[in-house]
């Protein structure tokens, strides 16, 4: 019985690049990884948005123009699956954004947890705490 913790750090805006979305889909894959592991073994995925990456968390993204799912909907899916989603407070402030501007909950999907707007210091702690880092 062992747990490996992964930290997914999203540093860039999305849409034009698929990277932030791949960060989320890979993190979500932590929920189906058991088929490869022994009973009781786990891989956990924490997700943090820092720098320009916080722009991925903007509310009200419209999927219809590109006919593609949005990073907003992937963040909501992550919350539904109880992944730990952190958004850097200082970076939101730098862009003049508040909690009201970003995706915090996925109530409409029945998610129990919320994304957390936290000081960078907490993201740093997460980065210290995980076994491996994946920067996107």
């Amino acid at each position: 019985m062992a747990t490996t913790k992964l930290g997914f750090i999203v540093q860039r805006p999305g849409v034009k690049s698929e990277n932030p979305k791949l960060a989320l889909t890979h993190a979500i894959a932590s929920q189906s990884v058991e088929i490869y592991l022994n009973d009781g073994d786990l891989v956990t995925a924490d997700i943090a948005f820092i720098g320009d990456g916080v722009l991925n968390c903007k509310k009200d993204q419209k999927p219809e123009y590109l006919d593609m799912s949005t990073t907003e909907s992937h963040i909501k899916m992550s919350l539904l699956l109880d992944l730990n989603v952190l958004i850097c407070k200082e970076d939101l402030e730098r862009f003049g954004m508040t909690e009201k501007d970003v995706v915090i909950d996925a109530e409409e999907f029945g998610a129990d947890i919320e994304a957390k707007v936290v000081p960078y210091e907490e993201i740093n702690k997460m980065m210290e705490d995980v076994n491996h880092l994946l920067f996107f």
Partner: protein, 98 residues
């Protein structure tokens, strides 16, 4: 020349805009370039808005990212892809994708 310059990134890796000196310059903000129109940093507007140019921003790229025309200053014209065609054919004679 009359030059239409497309800016499609938020962090530009080239400083070409600083040197271009056309008779008429249009800056078209598309894709992640729309953040120059919507987003201030520490209260300051993006330096990309500081040129002597006509500014345009693509509406669908705004909305895809969670913004609307209301998030954009009056000095920037919100346009459609169809408008881009007219700008290219009628208002500018050369284009630069930076």
């Amino acid at each position: 020349m009359k030059l239409a310059a497309f800016v499609s990134d938020y962090r530009n890796t080239v400083d070409t805009l600083d040197r271009l000196k056309p008779e008429k310059l249009g800056i078209i903000l598309i894709q992640n370039g729309v953040y120059h129109a919507t987003t201030k940093e520490k209260g300051n507007a993006s330096p990309v808005l500081g040129y002597s140019a006509d500014y345009y921003v693509l509406q669908e790229d705004l909305e895809t990212r969670g913004y609307t025309s209301a998030d954009v200053g009056d000095n920037i014209k919100v346009i459609t892809v169809s408008d881009v065609v007219d700008l290219l054919f009628n208002d500018y004679d050369k284009s630069a994708w930076l």
